[in-house]
């Protein structure tokens, strides 16, 4: 069965419709203008022809629209459109309750991830400095490796140069390290609801492994000098150290209730008195 209804947009009207009359002046004007431009590389005769065409076309165009716009009357031919469809049945997509049951009702706050990032970032300094001390007898080696990424004038530095203290290297390294730790912490916090029961496993093992893998594949593009000198074992170890400390900080933070069980209006922050009171009654 198909539903049918006569379309009011195109009834069986017969009559006359006034439409703008066809005119040659636009094409003449366009051709004249093109000739004017082309004459710059052809010859002045082409330009003169173009100017004549432009002037004639402009006069013709003006006469088309003044004092009254030229119209032509078109007879409306009766045409009845019937809006039909063979697909009369309208289905609705039902959302299963099960799909929503996996969302946690308790999780760690995103700020705990940021705190974890800060703590991990501070703790991570230890293995990094240790790496520099043991391999190059300088605590500045790791600092300068990182800081050199932002110092464009450090072209092909020697090992001794990297091992020495440089204010620019220290400042840039601090900025890079702080920004990355904060962003990684933020990302960690945002990911926590996906695996709320195992923050240390997520932050301490999975994330460092993934981060090391990502950097391993792209560091040659981002900072070839750093990539050339990096000790990946030490790097992975410092990442694990960061992750475990960050995970511990997160785990010590109390969990909070997520807003998943709340009605959509409340989650959107709409102050709905009735919804709030219903919520309070439910809690009682």
């Amino acid at each position: 069965m198909s539903s049918e209804e006569k379309n009011p947009h195109a009834g069986e009207n017969t009559g006359v419709v006034a439409l703008p009359a066809n005119t040659a002046w636009p094409v003449v004007l366009a051709f004249g203008a093109t000739l004017c431009f082309a004459s710059l590389v052809m010859n002045p005769g082409v330009g003169i022809a173009g100017i004549v065409l432009v002037l004639v076309a402009l006069v013709g165009w003006v006469r088309q629209i003044f004092p009254h716009e030229h119209h032509e009357e078109v007879l409306v031919v009766a045409h009845t459109t019937i809006a039909t469809t063979a697909r009369t049945e309208v289905g609705r997509i039902e959302l299963s309750e099960i799909q929503r049951s996996y969302l946690p009702i308790e999780s760690y706050p995103i700020t705990s991830g940021i705190k974890g990032g800060i703590a991990g970032g501070i703790a991570m300094i230890l293995p990094a400095v240790l790496f520099g001390w043991l391999t190059q007898h300088s605590i500045w080696y790791a600092v300068n490796l990182l800081g050199g990424a932002g110092a464009a004038y450090w072209t092909n530095p020697t090992t001794a140069y990297i091992a020495a203290f440089h204010w620019s290297g220290l400042l840039i390294a601090v900025v890079i390290h702080a920004v990355i730790c904060l962003l990684v912490g933020l990302l960690y916090g945002a990911l926590l609801p996906m695996w709320p029961r195992h923050p240390i496993l997520l932050g301490g093992i999975l994330a460092p492994v993934l981060w090391t893998g990502v950097l391993h594949s792209v560091l040659w593009f981002i900072n070839p000098a750093f990539a050339n000198r990096i000790a990946w074992g030490w790097f992975a170890a410092s990442q694990l150290f960061f992750g475990i400390v960050a995970g511990l900080v997160v785990a010590r933070t109390g969990r909070i209730q997520t807003r998943q069980p709340l009605p959509f209006a409340l989650r959107m922050g709409i102050e709905a008195k009735e919804l709030m009171s219903t919520e309070q009654e439910d809690e009682k």
Partner: protein
């Protein structure tokens, strides 16, 4: 004498009749041609735009095939270096200015007034002027093959589609080829501006009763955004072209570094136009997908307000990303960082769109007809194009890959994988409305599958060539570079795409005469253009329509389950 006359053999009389018929046929043909030449009807102008673009698509496609023959094997001499330079310059310029923009404005011309229930565009004569300026601009560009060289000898432009200074200075580009390039783009640019103004005026002032901005079809919404963006972006290009001509002929020094000018000024001007231009081209492709995906998924578009907001967001963000084409010119670290971040920002509204299209398809009763197949190809390829775009937005990554075939592969993923795929989808979708005939579905599927296979063979492989260090714009290479096999594969893919396009051209022409009769609403669609006959009468609608929702035809077809009850 009378006897003689009566005895005249019959064939003479027949000959006179056939002569008369022949004359009346030739008169009718001339009248028909004149009708197209002087038309101000938006539908005819839309068709002219589209036919003009398809013609140049075949021309630019042929140029691409020549390029690929040249690069198929190392040390090839099929084309000389000079001819190769002309071909890749003309290929790029043609595809962007004579195919991409005109065909998308052709869709706008044809569909927008119908979708908003108007009888024509706001300025029909300006519409005709805009088309003819675009058309003559294209002809002027190709006239350079005859008149662009030194001392009257033919020579097409050979400075690349972005024509970097100082290559365009008279010292390095003698003759008139570069002038033809600049003048042709100035002329067609004026046409483009006229169309943009017309579309904006039409959408704001000629919507039918009940069609508020938030009830407009997304197709129309996106053309409103594109037209605004066009007004902003074409202007710097036109200004730069004038500056170039002043440099070349009036002793100006805008781009002459040795005389106090700066070659970088051109680069800035060009990309302030050039990058938003990508969005001028891709937003109409989105517009086409916005119409086709819901109809063929049998679901309303998911997240209409978010789609509108994302489109407007893309427009604004796209105006602030141009210098990601310039990471290698030696900008400051802060500038690099700004353009890295602003470029990455485009990924957010674009991602919203991709999620919404997927959500529209999800749970729908999908019909895999040709327009939908092309849209599905677009979705996948545009996602990849976006991801490689994010890769290139990282300045250090760009330093490695800039001007390599990786970049060529990336932007062809956008221009072909997204835009051309959507253009084909749109052509299959609205062809029945414009001609009253259906295109062959069987040939359409052959076209799709060959094109998608050829596309991936060509452009997937090109990414690897780029990573292996093959720079763009080289006319040949040494056999010891490790690029031989990959280049041959790329060329084979190009030929497969060429065959697919020829199938499309055949289908396009033959279906006009022999295609199945389409009827008014062959796709069971929901917007106003499907309420008129196919092809529509010259006045579009006998009466001004009135709408109450975003899908007026849905409301008519389902009077007991109308959209306006939900849209409020």
């Amino acid at each position: 004498m009378s006897n003689l006359q009566s005895d005249l053999p019959m064939p003479i009389q027949g000959t006179l009749e056939s002569e008369k018929a022949r004359r009346s046929r030739s008169t009718a043909l001339l009248e028909w041609l004149q009708g197209w030449l002087v038309t101000v009807d938006h539908k005819r102008l839309g068709i002219l735009y589209i036919l003009y673009s398809i013609f140049f698509l075949l021309v630019a496609g042929a140029e691409a095939i020549f390029i690929r023959i040249q690069l198929a094997i190392p040390n090839n001499h099929f084309l000389t270096a000079e001819v190769y330079n002309r071909f890749f310059t003309m290929h790029g310029t043609t595809m962007v200015f004579l195919v991409g923009m005109p065909i998308l404005f052709g869709f706008a011309n044809y569909v927008v007034p119908l979708q908003i229930g108007a009888r024509d565009m706001a300025f029909p004569r300006l519409n005709a002027l805009s088309f003819w300026l675009t058309a003559f601009g294209g002809m002027l560009l190709y006239f350079s093959f005859l008149g662009g060289g030194l001392y009257g000898a033919g020579n097409a432009p050979d400075v690349g589609w972005f024509a970097y200074a100082p290559l365009t200075a008279r010292t390095f580009s003698p003759g008139n080829a570069t002038d033809y390039w600049a003048l042709a783009l100035i002329v067609s640019g004026f046409g483009t501006l006229g169309t943009a103004v017309n579309i904006i005026a039409t959408i704001f002032s000629m919507r039918c009763r009940g069609m508020t901005l938030m009830r407009m079809p997304l197709f129309t919404w996106l053309y409103l955004v594109v037209s605004g963006l066009t007004l902003v972006t074409i202007t710097p290009l036109t200004a730069a072209q004038f500056m170039l001509l002043i440099d070349r002929y009036l002793g100006g020094h805008f781009f002459d570094t040795q005389a106090g000018g700066s070659a970088l000024v051109w680069v800035h001007f060009f990309w302030i136009f050039g990058h938003p231009e990508v969005y001028v081209l891709v937003l109409p492709a989105f517009a086409i997908a916005n119409e086709i995906i819901p109809v063929f998924s049998r679901k309303a578009i998911f997240g209409y307000p978010a789609m509108v907001a994302a489109s407007v967001g893309i427009m604004f963000v796209s105006l602030g990303v141009w210098a990601h084409h310039m990471f290698t010119v030696g900008m400051t670290s802060v500038t690099n960082a700004f353009f890295v971040l602003s470029t990455m920002l485009v990924g957010i509204p674009t991602g919203i769109k991709i999620f919404n299209w997927i959500a529209t398809i999800w749970g729908g009763r999908v019909r895999f007809q040709t327009p939908m197949l092309f849209c599905l190809g677009f979705l996948y390829q545009f996602l990849i194009a976006g991801l490689t775009g994010i890769m290139l937005s990282v300045a250090p990554m760009d330093w490695q890959l800039h001007n390599s075939y990786f970049v060529i592969a990336h932007f062809h993923y956008v221009l072909v994988g997204a835009i051309v795929f959507c253009i084909f989808a749109g052509l299959y979708y609205w062809y029945p409305k414009a001609t009253g005939r259906m295109m062959s579905e069987r040939l359409g599927k052959w076209h799709f599958w060959l094109f998608v296979i050829g596309f991936h063979i060509t452009f997937d492989t090109m990414h690897f060539l780029g990573i292996l260090g093959m720079p763009r714009s080289i006319y040949t290479y040494q056999p010891d570079r490790g690029w031989n096999t990959l280049n041959l594969i790329v060329s084979v893919g190009g030929f497969i795409q060429g065959i697919a396009v020829l199938i499309f051209a055949y289908n396009f022409i033959v279906s006009y005469f022999k295609g199945d009769v389409a009827g008014d609403d062959p796709w069971d669609a929901w917007t106003l253009e499907w309420t008129t006959s196919s092809p529509p009468p010259v006045y579009n609608f006998a009466e001004e329509p009135e709408v109450r929702s975003r899908r007026p035809l849905w409301d008519l077809k389902h009077p007991y389950d109308t959209d306006w009850e939900y849209e409020g």
